[in-house]
């Protein structure tokens, strides 16, 4: 039986080789590069010790990108779960036309975030933008939506959330359909009102769905890249960059590969820590309820 297990374990060797070559090796090489001043293409570079990390401490652009990444991650997670659950509760009722709504809300999940970003550009541009046209109809002043970094970050978070809220919606729908009717029937006999019903029956029983949905949204939000490069390109200035777009820019536009590696590594560590804290918390919550 031991030999059988050993032969079987050979099956994951191809996958492990891929991970070794394209994940672990780059990761270790990244640690090395983060201590250099490599520009990304030349043969020669110098070791600069922890200079890149020291530079990060005072680099406003890095701080901004870090803050934005957390906003994209946490903000999207909150929005997608609240709206996703609301949509699922709405669509869990019987009425005509609900499959049309479900299809339309889920459809954007299929669309490349990059393309969605460009389509959104038609909404948010100043001249002839679709949103400003609506404001114009009501006689309101046109707004330069993406001119402010803070507003830009908020817009990107909302666009990302609206595009992918369908994922949370279908997860919650599946969760809601998995709750046995007898709980509700028993509660109805006890004369419970609908608010109590939601908080004491629906929500606790949805815990596994909440946990999955939060995990997916958080990972997606923290990785945000495509939609930023399409809609704002990280601008104005560096104000809407996420860590991902900042690494890209530091590497290719500023040709500062050593520094980009250091930013990349720090973002790697931060995202790992943040997601693990959230996942641990959710696992504990789930275990408490079981």
């Amino acid at each position: 039986m031991k030999k059988r297990a050993r032969t079987m374990n050979l099956f994951y060797v191809p996958a492990l080789i891929l991970f070794a070559v394209f994940v672990i090796y780059p990761f270790t090489k990244g640690i090395f590069l983060s201590f250099t001043n490599w520009n990304g293409y030349s043969q020669s570079y110098k070791m600069v010790g922890i200079n890149n990390y020291i530079r990060m401490l005072t680099d406003q652009n890095v701080h901004r990108a870090l803050l934005n990444t957390i906003i994209y991650g946490v903000g999207s997670t909150l929005l997608q779960n609240v709206f996703g659950l609301a949509l699922a509760l709405l669509l869990n009722q019987k009425f005509r036309g609900k499959s049309v709504v479900r299809t339309m809300v889920y459809l954007p999940v299929m669309i490349a975030p990059l393309i969605m970003g460009y389509v959104m550009y038609f909404f948010f541009t100043y001249n002839n933008g679709a949103l400003n046209d609506i404001l114009g109809v009501f006689g309101l002043e046109a707004i330069d939506w993406l001119a402010s970094g803070t507003r830009g970050t908020a817009i990107l978070t909302i666009v990302n959330s609206l595009q992918f809220v369908g994922i949370s919606m279908v997860i919650y729908l599946a969760g809601l359909q998995g709750i046995p009717d007898m709980y509700y029937e028993a509660a109805a006999i006890d004369g419970i009102n609908s608010v109590q019903r939601f908080f004491y029956i629906t929500l606790p029983l949805l815990m596994p769905a909440i946990s999955s949905s939060v995990t997916i949204n958080l990972i997606g939000g923290l990785k945000l890249f495509d939609i930023i490069s399409a809609l704002t390109g990280g601008g104005p200035g560096y104000d809407t960059n996420s860590l991902s777009t900042l690494v890209h820019r530091t590497y290719f536009a500023s040709e500062n590969a050593g520094y980009a590696s250091a930013i990349g590594l720090i973002s790697f560590v931060l995202i790992m820590v943040l997601s693990n804290i959230v996942l641990k918390y959710l696992d504990k919550k789930e275990a408490d309820l079981c």
Binding site: R4, M8, N9, F11, P14, A15, L16, L18, F19, V21, V23, P26, K29, G30, L33, G40, L87, L90, Q93, F95, V101, M104, V105, Y106, P108, M110, I111, A112, P113, L114, M116, Y118, V119, F122, F123, N128, A130, D133, V170, I171, A174, S211, S212, S213, L222, F225, S229, A230, L243, S244, V247, H248, Y251, S261, G264, L265, S267, F268, I271, M272
Partner: protein
């Protein structure tokens, strides 16, 4: 009962209408701009009075949309096929031999799902340059394969665990080695989860931008996202053709989705449930 229904509709109908309007508007605007002549500067909300196909002609001729569609299809199909082979194989021991070492490997693989690939962009890119994988199909295929693997392994592992182990044991008693057991007993049962893997990985490859951006730099190798982005950044004066190109790029996905919606949603839910 009828009264209650009527009451529900009073707040439900406007709500549904708003949701539908919000979700239809991007497609409506994209359609409108694509069919509008470049000279038509009316509001994006106004449907073209004189619809034209001119923008599509420009998109196809200057944007090389068909080359891009071909490249994207080729890359996506190969990655999906490789993913099915590599991940179903890898999942089998992870689902069946639950030794300490294997559990460690499984959590390592799940950990990779959380990594933003761009955090190791610099070294990854330089390694690919050293290997000569830039502007090569195999370069992008291997990268996409690696970063799409964890999710597929996760799906297969969970699914194989739900198959009774007694079947494997019976096969072993009959003298089937692990290789034959996998191919004759396990593999034929993986149809539904394979559909989910195909859909999830296929969509990710089709929509990929961040990896293709680095690996495929020559315009001959453009995938659709790259073609669209260069269209939008180069021809700022002709956003109409750019939106026609975007429309052509999302059309295949939208059509496939509308027909196979059930499977798409099932795949999503499967991948989410632990």
């Amino acid at each position: 009962m009828l009264m209650k229904n009527k009451k529900a509709w009073i707040w439900r109908a406007p709500l549904l209408l708003v949701i539908l309007l919000v979700y239809c508007s991007p497609f409506y605007i994209l359609l409108g701009i694509s069919f509008k002549p470049v000279t038509d500067l009316s509001s994006h909300w106004k449907f073209p009075t004189l619809p034209t196909l001119e923008n599509f002609r420009v998109a196809i001729e200057q944007g090389n949309i068909f080359t891009a569609l071909k490249n994207t299809t080729l890359i996506s199909v190969i990655v999906v096929l490789l993913i099915i082979a590599v991940s179903s194989l890898a999942a089998y021991p992870l689902a069946r031999n639950r030794s300490k070492g294997n559990n460690l490997i499984k959590s390592f693989i799940l950990g990779i799902m959380m990594v933003p690939p761009l955090s190791i962009l610099v070294p990854l890119y330089s390694i690919l340059v050293d290997m000569g994988g830039i502007n090569e199909y195999w370069g992008i295929i291997l990268i996409l394969l690696t970063y799409e693997l964890p999710q597929a392994i996760f799906l297969y592992t969970n699914f194989i665990r739900s198959i009774p182990e007694a079947l494997d044991e019976a096969a072993a008693l009959d003298g089937c080695g692990p290789i034959r057991t996998f191919f004759y007993i396990v593999l034929p049962q993986l149809k539904s989860v394979t559909a989910s893997v195909i859909i999830l990985t296929g969509i990710h490859c089709w929509n990929d931008y961040q990896f293709s951006l680095y690996v495929l730099q020559s315009s001959k190798m453009n995938t659709i996202t790259l073609a669209i982005s260069s269209f939008f950044s180069q021809t700022t004066s002709n956003l109409h053709a750019a939106s026609a190109a975007a429309l052509l790029a999302i059309l295949p996905v939208v059509i496939v989705f509308l027909f196979l919606q059930k499977y798409f949603i099932k795949g999503m839910v499967d991948s989410a449930i632990k």
